[in-house]
Symmetry: D2
Subunit: 339 residues, 4 copies
């Protein structure tokens, strides 16, 4: 991507027939804004993408937006590189493979985030996305990606937390009685290490993408997810790459890097104000947002193993992996297409 | 450090006699400012340190400032932790050990940086610091740390470059004919992988600290320095730690972390606008300084191996390590004291 | 505007027939980005605007972009409010009125800015825009608004300067022998107080809008332009409003505010590092871009007189008004339509 | 001030006997940090000031710090200029004049801010400062300046609010039953237009300075305070200057500017997200703190009237002047000394 409105790489794939527009089920990407309330790079990319797909499919942009989740995280601090991942697949008769399912919740009234209603909405959408993927058993889910409306000033991180809690509830990783509004951003012992949530001003409904294993999907693509104990958890990062079938000694060797299809991670500035016992300054910097600090740091650790800056790293990881840590997911080799 | 004026940890060491103030030869530290022209955390720390040492030694603060280099880099982005390293040593009759030498150049007129005069001044000071350490052979020098005046708006990076070039010239890593003003920030093929330079508004003279091997210094401390090919060079970081006698598989194990005495690094946002072929956004971000981006990223990669955020990472690495890369130095075990 | 992609106010005007899309000659606006190289709010707005106009006119977006200058300045610091001004007019048989003319230069090769070629291109385009407006006498020109390609890292302000110099040359405000590349950003005694220039990554050609007086345009709209001696020049701001027919004692009274059609200004952080003899910190702030500082300050002074935050204030005023100052233009009452 | 540690102007006054160190009762200043939690320019200045005064008075720095309020606001955005005002006076037998009284509260436990205890502490300190000034009648108080501990991440604005509420309570501007913790930052209809409060990490106790009219102080200095309806309230700013005996038509004429002794103001980004009906972007900018936005804008409006950038403008004006507005105070001519 040359800029947030640049979808020329996907346009080229569609033009030369390497990808059928109708098979696109989700797009996940990282744009070069600040990742906050006034990050409009996500809306710009989404508008560009929908315009392209509307031309390619003859569907209205509104219809596409209601069918294809476009989940964008702003902020490519440090070595991170703007990029987007296009998930295209057609379920069929095949054996077990990497399944993808999507679902949208109902339109959300302004401010109706960060509460029990959002938790319930996202849990419901997660179950719908599992069904869409053909996954019955929550144990077969590898990763749930959630995007929710930002809800206005002061609500962004609450919306992320509620989205995470809702998906964790649907997976059974957090008990129903505990997945409550009062616990959001408060009880960080409640978490799922396979949920990645975010929020933004550019979406009006909760959107969910479920990745996991099910019959009827083309084989050849594997996904591995690992919790991160903290932002320095190099061993866990390596473990995720290895579990996805790649060497990581210490990094993925050049010859294997083309097999990486997607790397997604969540992380969080440790609220104890310490990382491994030493004071960090992420949460008290008036000039530089804490999540920008975090993405730059965690993103670099992961990119140093991947050997590639195209890592989707998103901050605001409350209830997504252990407190002060987060999670990392690696998808390697197979049918997904990376632009 | 609780804040940039906090020297209580050193005060406690002096109070209980664990360290004799008179043996302090240099202080190198990382404060939590932005690392730029308007970063006053360095001046604040220096004033606090000198006040403490003046009380402890009965020397005037001005005399101490003219004798003890206090080299501070601002900016603890991401997982980096504010800290300072106190180099205290008394040369004696011993065998070979980690030697430290210091030197100061003459007062610098405002604006007289980034030119041939500064290159010559720093080369001369580097030779003086080598002599102070008892090192004759440039090959025995492991690392030269340089700090120069900032020189005013627009000159900061030129001053860093000239300081680096001067030290590289003294070491013989760059030929005399090439170490010229015209090459500064222009010919990045000229570099030394054992020079770390910076500049700041809080110093009025070029200051040099040389670390290397010589007879007459207490043994038991080792230093290893490695060039970094780029900001993702995880293998080189591990190599430096291993060469300093520490395991790094992938990170330094908890039981060995207390043996780390100092970790210093330089890095640079790659001017090609690419890292390993992918576009980075460090050099075109109006809201976030490129060096803040860089420190957060490279610092995290190194800290993930050290298992500790107390890493001295400084940006502006022109002529310090390969273009787009930099260098990392590790000092492990021994007599230095870290506050 | 609710966000940079929001053109709903214009869409409503078009929908209800209050404005004919075919009469739109230029759009000038202020979006809420950072105004720098990575400000994509301008591209986002332009894409949204062109999509709307393409639907309304059945012309291709590319054709519209080549016919209607869309000049956007990012950065609504402080009290500034995101807004856009639509200039729509049809020349006819009428008496003298506020004339508008537009012109585009040829496509610009990357990096071909900040040089003699750009000065010549913009001078030529300015003459073409004057002709388009039916203005023969440069003395009848009130304001020239220029937008040029950004040209890449480090070139943005040079491109602004060359655009300004080119227009100043065409107006005869700077002599031909002096309007040279070597003078850009260097000889600030060369300036026009009726040229406002900017640059951005979102345009690929120099674009010029000329406003002035000529026969054949609808009367009833007046424009006044005043140089600003510095960023505190309150008296000059009031003078511009008064010359445009509005009271300003000290501010435009509420009953007259609806008559304001457009307020445009340029300003510059004084390079002497002083404003009226006192040190300012705009040019040495690593965390906050100097132009963001400037826009927030100058914009507030002007808005306090206008009684309205919808002021187009753009930084980088070299060669546009006196050094350390700039200019302000007020258009009041009449046929222009403000969204 | 050349930098936040620069007290050379005051040192010169003391050296040449123009000011007796023993008569200094308070220092109020503006340093060039970001004004937030990690603004250490305030601590740096305070350390430098105390060191100077300790040398000049032979009192210990700790004793001076417990006797002389040093109230600093960080952030000199836009045209604002770093400066400090030294309030020196000796009460005597004279007629009515500008009185100054100071008081300190007890040491504050970490986090014990933003609550009823702080409101009570500051009210008590305000009464003590009134007594110190010899002011019995709250109606004779022109301005109360409060500084409180920051209290840690997330508490800064609560601490400011509680300091303001405490002083407003002591003045009788807010009724006792209403000045409660629950109203802080919530019920903005509770305010005093003659209280200016701030908070910072560099103070450990609530500090209060009262300015007003009482017998026994040297005459010749006048103070005027006006509420600001919003950040564009140019008329109110002019009114304050005029009430202090200065012309302001529109600005203070050059010949009168030397009579300005101090200009202090508070302001607040309007929580309605609108200024005079137009959307502002101060409260949703992830890259630029809302208070930095505000200070740059309001400071420029005031400085454009003063004709001087040495204006003390502080954000976080909840309960200080009308909601979305604030207040401005002008001290003109007389015995105070401005460095």
């Amino acid at each position: 991507m040359a800029h947030p409105g640049d979808v020329s790489a996907l346009a080229a794939l569609l033009d030369r027939g390497a990808l059928a527009a109708g098979t696109i089920r989700a797009v996940i990407g990282k744009t070069e804004g600040n990742g906050g309330l006034n990050d409009f790079t996500r809306g710009y990319f989404a508008q560009s993408l929908l315009h392209l797909l509307a031309c390619a499919t003859d569907e209205a942009a509104e219809a596409l937006a209601a069918r294809i989740p476009c989940m964008l995280s702003g902020g490519t601090e440090g070595v991170l590189s703007p990029h987007y991942m296009v998930f295209a697949a057609e379920p069929g008769e095949g054996p077990e493979g990497l399944a993808i399912g999507t679902a949208f919740g109902p339109p959300v009234a302004p401010g109706d985030v960060g509460n029990d209603a959002q938790i319930a909405r996202v849990a419901e959408a997660t179950r719908a996305a599992m069904a869409d993927a053909g996954i019955d058993d929550p144990g077969a889910v590898a990763l749930v990606q959630v995007k929710s409306p930002a809800g206005g000033p002061g609500l962004l991180l609450r919306s992320v937390a509620a989205g995470a809690m809702g998906a964790a509830l649907a997976l059974g990783d957090v008990p129903a009685g505990a997945a409550r509004e009062a616990a959001l951003l408060a009880d960080l012992s409640l978490f799922s290490s396979r949920v990645s949530a975010s929020a933004g001003v550019e979406v009006a409904r909760d959107e969910v993408v479920v990745l996991g294993t099910a019959r009827g999907w083309s084989p050849g693509l594997s996904i591995a997810v690992r919790p991160l104990a903290d932002a320095l958890d190099l061993a866990a990062v390596q473990s995720a790459f290895r579990a996805a079938g790649l060497a990581a000694d210490p990094d993925v060797p050049p010859g294997q890097r083309a097999r990486i299809r997607a790397v997604l991670a969540k992380g969080e500035p440790d609220r104890s104000l310490l990382v491994r016992g030493q004071r960090h300054t992420m949460l008290g910097d008036t000039d530089l947002d804490a999540q920008r600090h975090l993405r730059g740091a965690l993103g670099a650790v992961i990119a140093s193993v991947a050997g590639d800056g195209r890592v989707f790293v998103s901050g605001g990881a409350a209830h997504q992996g252990p407190p002060g840590g987060g999670l990392v997911a690696v998808i390697a080799a197979g049918s997904g297409e990376e632009a």
